[in-house]
């Protein structure tokens, strides 16, 4: 038997998050991920953890992700030189998803940017943290200070019960906060930055707290009957069903925001005015259409079609490749996404996924596989 990439031997040089001791106490299976020892699953296992998150609430440790702040006169305009989002019009307390692009319009990393009033707060991927920091230092110019929060933990509380649970520990205001907003409040007695966001497709929150308060906050949330600890394995299957990109797999330096179906995150003003790395490439693809697109791929049988699986047309010609694929516990079958030539990107197109040399019937489907349940705010009275 060959074990997969999530079960490599652990390495002595890996970093640990502030919740490392708690994970081990809870029976986590720890694996190396992006330079950290992280819990891939707890005792319940990936399948049950995934379903529990969609049914009630799951608590994830995402402290490996980079938490940064930018301060200085004209900071939004300065960051716009590196990303295609509209940050000048990002309201106070609001969060925007965007990407660092390169000169070819490829994606160096994807990130969340929040207007926290006196500064911008950035959340970046763990594996890209060091290169992102260097990229920011080189690209922002003088007058913008970059702070790296090495002493903060990041938790994600996700699922339909997340708002009720967090309301018991943070006050009722968190329940009214709309998707992609941030507020500063106390969570279980700790000063926290709380976002209405996440990467599961469910309603939920991401909670940044000082590292020395992380275990206390996590323990308080886990004491709630609705909440179970969830590992990286279920985080991956949840985000795949939600149609969300994983950096280094579904997006990387060779894929543009247009090809990746992320044009919604490119500001309307920026599409016209450009002014970010690779703007000409992105504008050209907006005008002419990209030659390939990221799509959902639904294999017809039971066999999962995993990353790097070749996608062929009915005649057997290669037309694309799977970039994320596996078993979707909520779908109850295999789910995947990948890039296909534009002519084959229309939902309903019949294709094949070549699994272990055998072409298996599959079709292009609209993403997400499981509908998003984000809280968009109270309906207007």
């Amino acid at each position: 038997m060959n074990d997969g990439p999530l079960s490599q031997d652990s390495d002595q040089n890996l970093r640990r998050t502030p919740l490392d001791g708690l994970h081990r106490e809870l029976g986590a299976k720890m694996v190396p991920f992006a330079g950290y020892e992280m819990p891939v699953q707890f005792a319940a296992g990936i399948l049950k953890e995934h379903l529990h998150t969609r049914a009630a609430a799951g608590l994830f440790d995402v402290s490996h992700m980079g938490q940064l702040a930018l301060v200085g006169e004209g900071v939004a305009a300065a960051l716009e030189a590196l990303v295609p989002a509209d940050l000048l019009d990002l309201g106070r307390g609001r969060t925007q998803y965007t990407q660092f692009t390169n000169e070819a319009g490829g994606i160096l990393d994807d990130l969340m940017v929040t207007n926290a009033g006196d500064r911008l707060i950035l959340i970046v991927n763990a594996a890209c943290k060091a290169t992102d920091i260097a990229h920011l230092r080189a690209g922002l110019g003088h007058g913008i200070d970059l702070e790296v929060f090495e002493d903060r933990a990041l938790l994600a509380l996700q699922g339909p019960a997340a708002a009720a649970v967090l309301g018991r520990h943070a006050g009722a205001a968190v329940g009214d906060a709309p998707f992609m907003s941030m507020l500063e409040c106390e969570v279980a007695g700790a000063a926290a930055w709380v976002w209405r966001s996440g990467y599961t497709g469910e309603d939920g929150f991401e909670i940044s707290i000082p590292a020395d308060r992380a275990e206390g906050v996590a323990t308080a949330l886990l004491a709630e009957v609705e909440v179970e600890p969830i590992g990286l394995g279920a985080r991956d299957s949840l985000r795949l069903e939600a149609g969300l990109c994983l950096y280094g797999h579904d997006i990387d330096e060779t894929t543009t925001p247009v090809e990746a179906g992320l044009l919604w995150s490119v500001g309307k003003r920026r599409r016209e005015a450009g002014g970010f790395p690779g703007a000409e490439v992105v504008q050209g693809q907006i005008a002419d259409g990209p030659t390939r697109r990221r799509v959902g791929v639904q294999p017809e049988g039971r066999a999962p079609a995993r990353e790097h699986t070749e996608i062929t047309d009915q005649a057997g010609n290669k037309v694309g490749e799977i970039t994320s694929g596996g078993f979707g516990p909520s779908v109850g079958g295999p789910v995947a996404m990948g890039y296909v030539e534009t002519a084959h990107a229309v939902a309903g197109t019949a294709l094949n996924a070549v699994v272990r040399g055998k072409p298996l019937a599959a079709s292009v489907v609209r993403l997400p596989f499981v509908e998003h349940c984000y809280y968009r705010g109270k309906p207007a009275a």
Partner: protein, 125 residues
């Protein structure tokens, strides 16, 4: 009395006459996690010892199952197609993968018995 042998790839083999029934051990299913799909060989297919004979897919990854002995497949477990989770629930009995007609009984020589496999697991630790 049937005789159970084990491989370093965490397969178990029950030998009854010239027929070997093959599955994966409880340790193996624990390492794999939730099994969601098993691809089994066709009856009549012949394998040399060590050739890939089946694939087991968990929520995490795909794992290859090698023929622990040379021989011809006589039967595969019909239950696993509709109920792959049986590999997690009952790995060392109900969730057998396939039966094969042993081509060369001498390949059994030196294979681990239960005590030796337990010692192997502890040494792997």
């Amino acid at each position: 009395m049937a005789d159970t042998r084990y491989t370093k790839d965490h397969e178990w083999i029950v030998v009854d006459g010239d027929i070997a029934t093959v599955g994966i051990t409880d340790f193996a299913q624990g390492q794999l996690g939730d099994v969601v799909f098993v691809e089994l060989p066709a009856a009549g297919a012949a394998f040399a010892k060590g050739e890939q004979a089946a694939v087991v897919e968990s929520v995490k990854a795909a794992a290859e199952i090698y023929a622990p002995l040379s021989g011809e497949i006589t039967e595969t477990n019909p239950v696993l197609d509709g109920e792959p989770g049986l590999v997690n629930a009952d790995p060392e009995s109900g969730a057998w993968f396939f039966k094969l007609r042993i081509a060369d009984a001498s390949e059994l020589d030196g294979m681990m018995d239960e005590a030796a496999y337990k010692a192997f697991l502890e040494a792997e630790g």
